[in-house]
């Protein structure tokens, strides 16, 4: 019991440092209002949000996530190409050793595709109408905690 309390306290302590999030727009659609609303909401929730803009390839997303050492990647996609591009993104993240990063997605992803997207390793899908608070709460609850030695 004491051990459990200690573990929770450690987690709480580490959470005193801001969660770092990369918000990326993979693929070829130019609709970035949703991404920008999300950037703003996460910033207002006390997170440090890196926004890389439109037309990102899987390599560009992985490289930015790697250098910025983000805890979370938010993918916003409205082109309908999610089942084509998400597998490549997840694969690229894995080959770069970023499999401990929490990946979530938003945009226009049909209900029928959500199971498939989650099978790829995307932890949650926040479609149109999601409350910002819900997305923030999910990130807070699921962002990974890392332990390193110098």
């Amino acid at each position: 019991m004491a051990l459990e309390t200690a573990a929770v306290e450690t987690a709480k302590h580490e959470r005193e440092t801001p969660i770092r999030v990369l918000v990326a727009k993979p693929g070829l659609d130019g609709h970035d209002r949703g991404a920008k609303v999300m950037v703003r909401a996460l910033r207002d929730a006390g997170m440090e949000v890196i926004y890389t803009g439109l037309f990102q390839t899987p390599d560009m997303i992985a490289e930015a996530a790697l250098q910025e050492d983000v805890d979370v990647i938010g993918l916003s996609i409205l082109s309908g190409a999610h089942l084509a591009i998400f597998p490549r993104i997840m694969e690229t993240l894995r080959t770069r050793g970023l499999d401990d990063v929490l990946v979530i997605a938003g945009g226009t992803i049909p209900e029928d595709d959500i199971d498939e997207v989650k099978r790829l390793g995307v932890a949650a899908v926040f479609g149109p109408g999601t409350s910002l608070r819900e997305a923030v709460a999910f990130i807070r609850a699921n962002a990974p905690i890392r332990h390193d030695a110098a």
Partner: protein, 313 residues
């Protein structure tokens, strides 16, 4: 193998993790910097500063590309402001540097100012040492967009470029103290806009009026980051200034000034963290009442707290 060995061995992941530890001022960072600091001191450290929207990030994009054609490995530390209300930040400098993606000789790190108001973060100097130590030839620090006096960057790098744009004011602005005094090189960006050459002339006139206290006369370079105009001249000026530092013996003076500033910053940081850790408990209710009721001055109260601390530690 720990993070330091991995980072020295070329692991980008380890390098990025160490940067996070430094930003978070963890014990891991403390131990890592103890090993890395002795390896630093080889890179050319450059600060790029100027008002918001002057084109600093776009200019960094061009400068880095120019250094890359010369075979130099470059790290960029791009600082953006932290919200004083929520602690959150939007880090958007990277979006201007997309040309540099996919180049293994470039590492870009966005970092939030985390409460510091001088244009840098409290831990920016630690990041400079990290990238220097792992072997980047050039380390560029892009500050928060600054006003008239947020000039911390001057104290932490060897070369400072102040980016100006036309239309920000007349020659009287240029006479004011502060940011316009501090640069080693002046870059007037958006040189294609009307009035830009007038801004170059005003700066040149102002700099010509100052009494030279060193043998380096800061040049004024007209550039256009969007059109890639004047970039060679700007990087050439940076190289000449760095060579001048070496040849004139000023490098040693400058590095001593940087060292002195970093020590005093660390002392200040220790106090800040101590205060933050103790919350308000460092000021007792009695002390607060005394100051509020004017029976003691704030300065006296501070003195007694400091005296108490030096007894404890």
């Amino acid at each position: 193998m720990g993070l330091v060995d991995d980072a020295l061995g070329g692991s980008v992941r380890a390098l990025a993790r160490l940067a996070t530890h430094i930003e978070n001022e963890t014990n891991v960072a403390h131990a890592a910097l103890a090993r890395l600091y002795p390896l630093s001191g080889r890179a050319h450290t450059i600060g790029i500063t100027g008002p918001p929207g002057a084109g600093k990030s776009s200019l960094v994009n061009r400068i880095v590309a120019r250094y890359r054609t010369a075979g130099k490995r470059v790290a960029v530390i791009a600082v953006d402001p932290t919200s004083p209300l929520t602690g959150g930040a939007t880090l958007g400098d990277r979006i201007r540097m997309l040309d540099l993606q996919g180049d293994a000789g470039v590492f870009i790190r966005s970092t939030a100012s985390r409460g510091r108001t001088g244009g840098l973060a409290p831990t920016t100097s630690g990041l400079i040492h990290l990238f220097d130590a792992v072997g980047f030839d050039v380390v560029i620090v892009e500050t928060v967009g600054i006003g008239q006096e947020e000039i911390d960057v001057v104290h932490y790098v060897e070369s400072v470029v102040l980016v100006q744009v036309p239309g920000l004011g007349d020659g009287i602005q240029a006479l004011k103290a502060g940011v316009l005094e501090i640069a080693d090189i002046y870059a007037v960006n958006k040189i294609d806009l009307p009035g830009a050459h007038g801004t170059v002339r005003e700066l040149q006139t102002l700099l010509g009026l100052s009494e030279h206290i060193s043998s380096w006369s800061p040049p004024v370079v007209g550039v256009s980051a969007s059109e890639a105009v004047g970039i060679d001249e700007l990087v050439d000026a940076l190289n000449r200034q760095r060579a001048w530092l070496d040849e004139s013996g000023s490098l040693r003076t400058r590095r001593r000034a940087i060292a002195a500033m970093e020590i005093s910053q660390q002392v200040q940081r220790l106090f800040e963290r101590k205060i933050a850790l103790q919350g308000r408990s460092w000021a007792t209710d009695e002390l607060i009442s005394n100051v509020a009721e004017r029976t003691e001055t704030p300065a006296n109260a501070a003195d007694s707290i400091l005296a108490h601390w030096s007894n404890v530690t």
